[in-house]
């Protein structure tokens, strides 16, 4: 193994209310591929952002090629030879491949951009990487896989000594991944160090030399890939103590009626043949890693995105859900993970948001009965303990937890029996979190049924009666809470070695 090229030591970083990185160490060697693993929110991306100057660290040192460095921005990091290949492709679709590669540092001939030279340089670069892409091709005509190759080529063209891959395979097909691995092996021979962030256990085994595991913003340890098993890695990823008492057994009687049954739901790559049942009074947890297809499943079920096939039964009756209107009429309410974009209408008042889904009940002929609207909104503000001066307050002025309560009020006003909570406590502080949990427990006690999508293991184990685990668009398992352990869930959530 090569010499150490990059050392991060005792890196500490806090955001308001979150200790994102707690004295994290990282060591990268020349010519190796280092896997960086951890659950959602473990701090992998934050650490990489600190390295490349997107975030400023609170304390700790970064030593690169024997010198202590602190990059002010990605440009500086790039110039020094540290480059990130992002998961989302940052390509300009209308420009050609070569124009994309050299954007911001175009070759010039006088005041004219020298496209010919750019094409030549791009061609040389591709030849070096053994990739077959025409530099003159328009970027949007390339497959996602080829676009990813361009991203890598671009990174290499910066004379990169350290390349960071942030979930590079998320959008790629098997053969494209294989092609990418070929390039990575080539780069290894050229003594370039690489950090590979991925959730895919099989890829980690195939391409990486060492694995560094992070958990909840701390460094857990580093293993030699060859000498460890998947179980070793998972144990390191989840080996936390759960403070809030997890549920030990389901609160739902065995014979509770099935209120929602989904069969063979298909919607693109992210939802493949998903089937599950939801019982009355149950909280059904949906667990999985980022990109597992949980939100996509919920959106397809709710009619927010088109679905290709699949049957949905409500209380035993088959229903057709083609758009959110149908879903709402079936008694389903969806609380989005992205409240600001999908949940609330920010420039409207608490009262207006509360009645948004059930306007019919608030009409006096053609006029809106504003008194009744206020009355109902007031009722829910009190029942849910929403902190707002009055119901005429614009929701944009409320805190995250209170905005969430307004969304809950909206669906309660509609009298929805099935509520889909997508990351119910994202962006909500700890105190408000507990309130939301209590509220959810109260709702199921009152006979509502809840689907809860959550990326937080503690939340899943604390709230769910049953757990569905998804991985890459497929349902990989279903567990009763009594048999659910962090390790079992994580095992199902990561792809098996094939």
């Amino acid at each position: 193994m090569g010499d150490i090229i990059l050392t991060m030591k005792g890196i500490d970083k806090s955001f308001p209310g979150v200790h994102a990185l707690d004295h994290v160490d990282l060591e990268v060697r020349k010519g190796e591929v280092l896997a960086l693993m951890g659950e959602n929110g473990a701090g992998k991306s934050t650490l990489m952002k600190v390295l490349t100057g997107i975030y400023k660290k609170d304390s700790g040192t970064i030593t690169y090629e024997g010198k202590e460095v602190e990059f002010k921005n990605t440009r500086e990091a790039q110039d020094a030879g540290i480059v990130i290949v992002h998961q989302e492709l940052n390509m300009l679709g209308h420009l050609t491949v070569a124009q994309n590669l050299f954007i911001g540092r175009e070759f010039k001939k006088g005041i004219r951009i020298d496209d010919r030279k750019m094409n030549e340089e791009a061609q040389k670069l591709f030849e070096r990487l053994n990739v077959n892409i025409d530099p003159r091709e328009t970027m949007s005509n390339l497959t996602v896989g080829k676009q990813q190759m361009c991203e890598i080529a671009k990174a290499v063209s910066f004379d990169a000594k350290v390349i960071i891959f942030d979930e590079p395979s998320a959008a790629l097909t098997e053969s494209e991944i294989e092609e990418m691995f070929k390039i990575i092996r080539d780069l290894k021979k050229k003594d370039i160090a690489m950090v590979y962030i991925s959730h895919r256990m099989d890829e980690i085994k195939v391409i990486t030399d060492r694995v560094t595991v992070m958990r909840d913003g701390t460094y857990v340890g580093t293993l030699i890939t060859e000498k460890c098993t998947k179980e070793d890695i998972i144990n390191m990823m989840v080996g936390r103590v759960i403070y809030e008492d997890p549920k030990t057994e389901s609160a739902v009687p065995k014979d509770a009626p099935v209120v929602l049954k989904v069969e063979h739901l298909n919607a693109g790559r992210m939802v493949q043949d998903v089937s599950f049942e939801l019982h009355k009074g149950e909280i059904l947890g949906f667990s999985g890693l980022m990109g597992a297809g949980r939100t996509e499943t919920a959106r397809a079920l709710f009619g927010a995105d088109p679905k290709e096939s699949g049957d949905i039964y409500i209380n035993g009756n088959k229903v057709t859900i083609n758009n959110p209107q149908d879903a709402v009429n079936c008694g389903i309410g969806y609380l989005s993970e992205d409240r600001k974009r999908y949940g609330i209408v920010v420039q409207k008042t608490v009262a207006e948001n509360t009645t948004m889904a059930s306007m019919n009940d608030f009409m006096n002929g053609i006029f809106i009965n504003k008194n009744k609207e206020k009355e109902v909104a007031d009722k829910y503000v009190e029942a849910l303990a929403t902190k707002t001066p009055d119901v005429d307050q614009l929701v944009v002025n409320l805190s995250g937890g209170n905005q969430q309560k307004v969304v809950i009020a909206k669906w309660l006003t509609r009298n929805s029996d099935i509520l889909i909570f997508d990351e119910p406590t994202r962006g909500i502080d700890v105190g408000a979190k507990n309130e939301i949990y209590k509220l959810m427990n109260r709702l199921v006690a009152e006979g509502k049924s809840i689907i809860m999508i959550s990326s937080e293991m503690t939340e899943i184990l604390r709230m769910s009666d049953r757990i569905v685990v998804m991985c890459e668009g497929k349902k990989t398992g279903e567990l009763d809470i009594s048999e659910a352990k962090q390790e079992t869930i994580m095992n199902l959530a990561t792809r098996e070695i094939e």
Binding site: A327, M356, M359
Partner: protein, 323 residues
């Protein structure tokens, strides 16, 4: 007075625009003695009706975050078609007026389908209907100009509902009364009906509104229908005020209306706006149109000042947002 209640309810922006209107009247009156006369007052109002009607209508697409550029050439086209039927085909005046309004509504539906159902960008869709309506009137009416019947004739009696001349010769601009009635009605529509509520919601967050189970396409389309309907009514008002309709004119009228709405506080990015604000905003535009010549500035300056006022109006919003 009914006004008093409305006064108490004035929001910051509306009060500000009202202040600007008053300040402009005072300024022009001081600078030009001829401005503060009854005929000028009537003239300002006379020139405002068709703009007011367009503005009341276009407020709805604007609030959804879109725009309707077809109303200017549209209203001329509708007035041309209605007038042609009355003058050359001997159709009763009432039918002519109705046709004028209905064609407007029809174009509104067309715009609505393009934008809400077929997902065309509003700017592009209505730019196209702007061109279509520009040619539509002349095409249907053999490219002739039309003069609606004189106010003194029986057929032209409808024009008195905008400007009534009493037996003693006093001119009473009662059109303003109709405008106020319409402002009250449309305020109600915007603030107290489902149509208004959902149009505001669409402009504020279309996706969240859709996910609340609202038939977003229908209500989005309604906004353009209202705009078309009011463009049709503006066609009638235009005919009543100016009588002679020239084919192919009307381009740029919509800018006065949209400008008025924006000055009145309708957010160009959607979600925010009031009918009263639009109404007051139109007066800022109209006063400049009529008033600036009185203080010795040519009509061209009106365009320049309108542009500057618009920039100021939008800047106020931008600065507010940043806070």
């Amino acid at each position: 007075m009914a006004n008093k209640k409305a006064f108490g309810k004035l929001k910051g922006r509306e009060a500000m625009v009202l202040g600007i209107v008053i300040a402009m009247v005072v300024l022009f009156s001081i600078l030009s003695p001829t401005f503060r006369s009854y005929p000028t007052f009537v003239s300002v109002l006379d020139n405002s009706y068709y703009i007011t009607l367009m503005a009341l209508g276009v407020t709805f697409p604007l609030i959804t975050g879109g725009v309707d550029l077809s109303i200017g050439t549209g209203l001329v086209s509708y007035a041309l078609i209605g007038g042609y039927l009355v003058v050359h085909k001997g159709v009763p005046i009432g039918v002519g007026i109705l046709v004028c309004i209905l064609v407007g509504l029809l174009i509104g539906v067309f715009n609505g389908v393009l934008v809400a159902v077929m997902d065309l960008p509003p700017f592009l869709a209505t730019l196209c209907t702007c061109m279509i309506t520009r040619g539509l009137g002349p095409a249907l009416c053999s490219s002739m100009g039309v003069s609606w019947p004189s106010a003194l004739s029986e057929q032209g009696a409808f024009r008195k509902i905008f400007k009534f001349t009493s037996a003693s010769g006093t001119v009473i601009p009662i059109g303003i009364v109709f405008m106020i009635v319409l402002v009250v009605i449309m305020s109600f529509v915007l603030d107290h009906t489902r149509v208004g509520r959902y149009i505001l919601a669409i402009g504020s967050n279309k996706e969240a509104t859709r996910l609340a189970g609202v038939n977003v396409k229908f209500y989005h389309m309604m906004a353009y229908m209202i705009s078309g309907l009011f463009a049709g009514m503006a066609g009638v008002a235009y005919a009543a005020t100016y009588a002679t309709i020239y084919p192919g004119s009307g381009a740029g009228f919509e800018l006065d209306a949209i400008g008025g709405a924006i000055v009145g506080g309708v957010s160009a990015s959607g979600g925010v706006g009031t009918i009263l604000g639009t109404f007051l905003g139109v007066f800022v535009i109209c006063l400049m149109k009529v008033g600036l010549p009185f203080i010795g500035l040519q009509a061209n300056w009106q365009q320049i000042f309108t542009g500057i006022v618009l920039i100021a109006a939008v800047l106020v919003d931008v600065v507010k947002k940043k806070k």
